[in-house]
């Protein structure tokens, strides 16, 4: 993509010094559609049009016809005559390329691109796997109609080319300040979101308005969505339970506040103090995020359950009666707070670092005490970070499914309700869709509230002037508060992890503490076979598949997420807010619903992706993209826009600016996104449970299977292995991305007196 736009946009050849200047200025040539056009023709005339099975031996037989035939050949031979109309936009685009008048040429390009997209998609959706996809076409054309497979290399590339041609045309007509890269980026991101978020999600949400036979039934929808089990307020008035919506909302707010507060405490300790065990603290704060689901819940039960270690100790020494308090709201809350604090920490640490020390110094010179400064300058400047951290914590809590499943007790939340509406003993997809709509509404509300709270204030603190100030040491009471919250929490986290680590090496955690290696051996046995090492353990397959998928998803998520964040903060275009919200959509919808919607949308042509690793990668990318977007938005809102503009006026195109100026300043956000998306790809459950195939089974579905079977030992052993792998990966990312150089001095040490 970048290569294409650069080639298209830039004829800025290096010039010899004698010529004196590098910038070119023959305006009319700013967009070159030649290479794109060539690619489009190749895609249509040469590349295999349909999805190919690369393992099938007969793959290329009969080329240019046959299963690997090109669009043009199939169209002209009459085998797929409905591909022929695609020639028209291609010819129009070619005419445009030969047109000298820029206005006319760009107009033609836009027309050709739009027509091309329409022509390719239209035929794809009309002619399906089993003939005509629409009854009215069948009635018009008669018969069951021809059939075709899903889009392949040729069709995919051609779609991309048409999209880019259209974007070039629009840029040529002055869209987005005439920047072809930006228009293309917007075009691609919008197209991807439409395809991989809107298309599947609307497929399933439509079922909210249908009865089980698939007919529209609005009354049923109203009945379902106003159900007492969702909105009941009986817990306020009586002893009955409240509706699941209130439970979810209450839990979400609680978790959002707690994770934000804890994350802030960790972030302040990590950036503004000389706490000696910072490294350990950082690892501890990261550990929960790299822990597969169920495991934290499991560990909490083993610690605080009725026969848990802590409970037993309390009961023996202090006579505190054993109880089941951990099941229900307290347990879910604890587990989610443990699991999501790291996200808040990762968002906030970049923001705390980004605050210009001179602002705090300014406040101090106005005779404000450290505390007043912290309260009136530092905290308000942290607003975007705090708001983003809260939003993520809230939304994560809403979407979390593993912890309520294990610890929920009789406290029901929407995510588990939705899961069991899909897979439970009374399956009702419509009900799942209705509940998803409620969940979605909550997310929308949180997003809106966050926007209101941040308001239109400016939070630029990384300006173009450098900043010679020293970061303000924490006011004592804040430091004390930070230590008082973060340290016990860290201790708590540590004990949970010691337990998890030990759990893999004992026969049965909670019952039989005989030391054994059985769990590891059954999952990860490696034997010396005839042809070298044989990975004979049962977990290896899913382990390797998970690593592959996660390694592919992480960089893609980072690229798309950060690019989107950049577009959102740095560009102005119509529908910006709607665009921003749509990026949050896939995050807000429960994984189970996403999983089912992906099958419904991508199991049939034209976009036939089920059973491949690609669908897992795509699912992860679009599910985790919001984190990239949010952290890019938070970080970019601190960086002075004139830095980008300076780069532009120095002749760097948007892409170069992005690479040389924006990305280096975005390093904390890049790291956060890479780590998060990698980790999420390795630990996600609910979304992928329907997307895994025999070939691409994921670690977590394997673990869930073990937990279901009551084999906690192997589950914990596998989880420990994943944790170690992810730790290594995170350190690797850290090295790869490097530190952001802001040319600032380090904070002086702050010491907290022993008594304080």
């Amino acid at each position: 993509m970048t290569a294409i736009t650069e080639a298209a946009g830039g004829s800025s050849r290096p010039r010899s010094a004698g010529e004196g200047r590098g910038k070119r200025r023959t305006g009319a040539e700013s967009v070159r559609s030649g290479p794109l056009l060539l690619a489009a023709w190749i895609a249509y005339a040469l590349l295999p049009w349909y999805w190919l099975d690369f393992q099938a031996p007969a793959g290329m037989a009969g080329y240019p016809l046959g299963p690997a035939g090109s669009g043009l050949a199939l169209a002209l031979s009459g085998k797929a005559w409905w591909l022929a109309p695609i020639l028209i936009p291609l010819i129009v685009a070619t005419v445009a390329w030969r047109t000298a008048d820029p206005l006319r040429r760009n107009g033609l390009l836009v027309f050709a691109g739009a027509l091309g997209l329409w022509a390719v998609l239209k035929q794809g959706f009309v002619v399906g796997l089993k003939g005509w996809n629409f009854a009215w076409v069948a009635a018009l054309m008669g018969g069951p109609g021809p059939s075709q497979a899903g889009f392949g290399l040729g069709a995919g590339l051609l779609l991309l080319c048409f999209l880019l041609l259209m974007c070039q045309g629009l840029a040529g007509r002055g869209w987005c300040r005439g920047d072809a890269f930006i228009v293309s980026a917007v075009g691609i991101v919008v197209a991807l979101i439409l395809l991989f978020v809107f298309f599947p999600v609307s497929t399933i949400l439509a079922s909210a308005f249908q009865d089980n036979a698939g007919h529209l039934d609005f009354a049923l929808f109203v009945a379902k969505i106003t159900d007492q089990s969702i909105w009941g307020l009986d817990c306020v008035t009586g002893r009955l339970r409240c509706g699941v919506a209130w439970n979810t909302l209450f839990l979400g707010v609680l978790v959002g506040v707690a994770t934000t507060a804890l994350g802030l405490a960790f972030a302040l300790i990590a950036t503004r103090t000389d706490f000696r065990l910072k490294g350990a603290l950082r690892i501890l704060s990261i550990l929960p995020i790299i822990t597969p689901p169920f495991v934290i819940g499991l560990a909490l039960i083993l610690l605080f359950g009725r026969s848990g270690a802590v409970t037993a100790w309390l009961s023996e020494w202090f006579g505190i009666p054993r109880s089941r308090w951990i099941y229900g709201l307290p347990g879910i809350f604890l587990a989610q707070a443990l699991a999501f604090t790291p996200i808040a920490y990762m968002v906030l640490v970049g923001v705390v670092q980004g605050i210009a020390p001179s602002l705090e110094e300014a406040s101090q010179t106005l005779r404000a005490s450290r505390w007043t400064t912290f309260r009136t300058v530092t905290l308000p400047l942290l607003r975007p970070g705090l708001a983003n951290a809260f939003l993520l914590g809230f939304v994560e809590s809403l979407a979390d499914f593993g912890n309520p499943l294990v610890l929920g007790g009789n406290f029901e939340v929407l995510s588990t309700k939705i899961f069991f509406a899909v897979v439970g003993s009374a399956t009702d997809q419509g009900r799942a869709a209705v509940l998803s709509l409620v969940l979605l509404a909550f997310t929308l509300l949180a997003f809106w509230a966050q926007q209101m709270w941040i308001g239109k204030k400016v939070y630029v603190t990384v300006g173009g002037k450098g900043d010679a100030g020293l970061p303000l040491p924490l006011p004592k009471r804040v430091a004390v508060a930070c230590y008082a919250t973060a340290l016990p929490w860290a201790l708590f986290t540590a004990s949970v992890y010691v337990l998890i680590l030990v759990g893999g090496f004992v026969r049965s955690l909670g019952r039989d503490y005989t030391i054994t290696l059985d769990h590891y051996l059954s999952g990860f046995r490696i034997e010396q076979g005839a042809g070298g090492l044989v990975f004979s353990g049962g977990a290896w397959d899913s382990f390797f598949a998970t690593l592959e998928v996660a390694a592919m998803a992480a960089p893609l998520t980072a690229v798309i997420g950060l690019l989107t964040g950049y577009l959102l903060t740095r560009q102005r275009f119509a529908g910006l807010r709607a665009f921003e919200f749509s990026t949050m959509l896939s995050f807000a919808i429960p994984g189970t619903v996403i999983g089912v919607s992906y099958i419904l949308a991508f199991n049939v042509p034209p976009f036939e992706l089920t059973g491949t690793a690609l669908i897992l990668v795509i699912c992860f990318v679009f599910r985790n993209m919001p984190v990239g977007v949010r952290s890019a938005v938070a970080t970019l809102s601190q960086i002075d826009k004139s830095l980008d503009e300076a780069s532009l006026t120095l002749g760097a195109r948007s892409w170069t600016t992005l690479r040389l100026v924006v990305l280096p300043l975005l390093r904390p956000a890049i790291l956060a996104t890479l780590v998060y998306s990698f980790v999420r790809a390795m630990t996600a459950v609910s979304a992928v449970i329907f997307l895994v195939s025999a070939k691409y089974n994921m670690a977590t579905t394997y673990i869930v299977g073990r937990v279901e079977a009551g084999e906690f030992g192997i589950a914990i052993a596998y989880a420990s292995v994943l944790i170690v792998v992810m730790l290594v990966a995170i350190l690797g990312f850290d090295r790869l991305v490097g530190k952001r150089k802001l040319g600032r001095r380090e904070a002086p040490p702050v010491t907290v007196a022993a008594g304080g």
Partner: protein, 344 residues
């Protein structure tokens, strides 16, 4: 910088190669959705591969998940055979025409209950094992609290067991739905709901998963857990201090089933697997995998640890009636309204 870029390049090209590997080809292959536990799935598939040379791609998912997946994929089915898992979702799939009718030559070798399952579904699903419902108690806790050992469903209403009984939520678990249907069949609907309301006072938690109460009992999180007996036996074999009980009033059971998915891409191989899975040799693979259900082929040896169906007073479970989605929805809605939300 050079090094990292190169490393990235390698990673990407490796990734690209697996991205391009499309859906599995349809020759000499079979895709099985397996809904029992992993340990049992794997040796089953390995044995079938060894015997026939057909390459099996197996995905393990719970029966509810598999049902949802089969339904979602019905426009372009990906799986061939759905093996294992409790009978209800199989029946539901049969009812919705998601699975294929098939009469196996092995049908005559099967126990009656397995054949009844086949008949009830008009040939679309067949029983492969069965397991009786029951409860288990933690012997240590019972001794500590000096409670009498419960032997019957009625014993579970003992006020001394307040907050000491655990069972799954029938909305999410087929196990628990089996219990609901069992009670209705043993006591009649009205009495059954009175029993469940009384039991509600002793329930500490309605879990999501059907087997969870067995695990909780083994850990001492609850004194009594209601689940399938073979789930309890698995814990006991693992050394848990518990005792499984087949209630004196009689009890219901599940029929683990197998179906061929309609529109299967490898129909012939699917039928081969179906026939093979009903043989004693194939069914004998359950016990080594710590699965102690009762196999459906009369000739299969019953594992010694398995709860003997002969010792259990089994009711004549009406799978056709209680497996239909209308009856299920009605009972579940009633349970939701009358039992679940009761104050304690």
């Amino acid at each position: 910088m050079f090094l990292t870029r190169r490393a990235l390049g390698v990673a990407f090209s490796a990734g690209f190669s697996i991205v391009l590997a499309g859906p599995v080809a349809a020759q000499g292959q079979l895709t099985v959705y397996c809904s029992v536990q992993e340990e049992w799935c794997r040796p089953m598939m390995a044995a079938f591969e060894k015997e026939t040379g057909i390459k099996v791609s197996m995905t393990r998912k719970s029966s509810g998940e598999t049902y949802a997946q089969v339904k979602a994929e019905s426009a372009n089915p990906r799986g061939d055979v759905w093996w294992g898992g409790t009978g209800d979702p199989h029946m539901q799939a049969a009812e919705e025409g998601l699975t294929e009718e098939y009469k196996s030559p092995k049908l005559t070798e099967l126990n009656d209950w397995a054949v009844r399952q086949w008949e009830g579904s008009k040939g679309r699903t067949v029983g492969i094992y069965s397991g009786a419902l029951g409860f288990a108690y933690n012997t240590k806790l019972i001794a500590e609290k000096k409670l009498p050992e419960p032997k019957c469903w009625a014993d579970l209403l003992d006020p001394k067991l307040k907050d000491e009984v655990q069972v799954a939520d029938p909305n999410s678990s087929g196990t628990s739905y089996t219990m609901l249907a069992t009670m209705v069949q043993i006591m009649g609907e009205q009495k059954a709901f009175e029993y469940l309301k009384a039991l509600h006072k002793n329930i500490n938690q309605y879990t999501k998963s059907g087997a969870a109460p067995a695990k909780a009992t083994s850990l001492g999180e609850t004194t009594v857990g209601i689940a399938f007996l073979h789930d309890h036996v698995m814990m006991i074999v693992d050394g848990a201090p518990m005792k499984a009980v087949a209630p004196c009033e009689g009890t219901g059971y599940e029929i683990g089933s197998m179906s061929i998915i309609k529109g299967a891409k490898n129909m012939d191989n699917a039928k081969k697997f179906y026939d093979w899975a009903l043989t004693p040799a194939a069914q004998a693979l359950a016990a080594p995998a710590k699965s102690f259900q009762v196999p459906s082929n009369k000739a299969t040896p019953i594992p010694p640890q398995a709860p003997k169906l002969a010792d259990i007073k089994l009711i004549n479970f009406d799978f056709a009636k209680y497996g239909s989605s209308d009856e299920r929805k009605r009972l579940l809605a009633k349970w939701d309204a009358e039992v679940k939300n009761l104050p304690k």
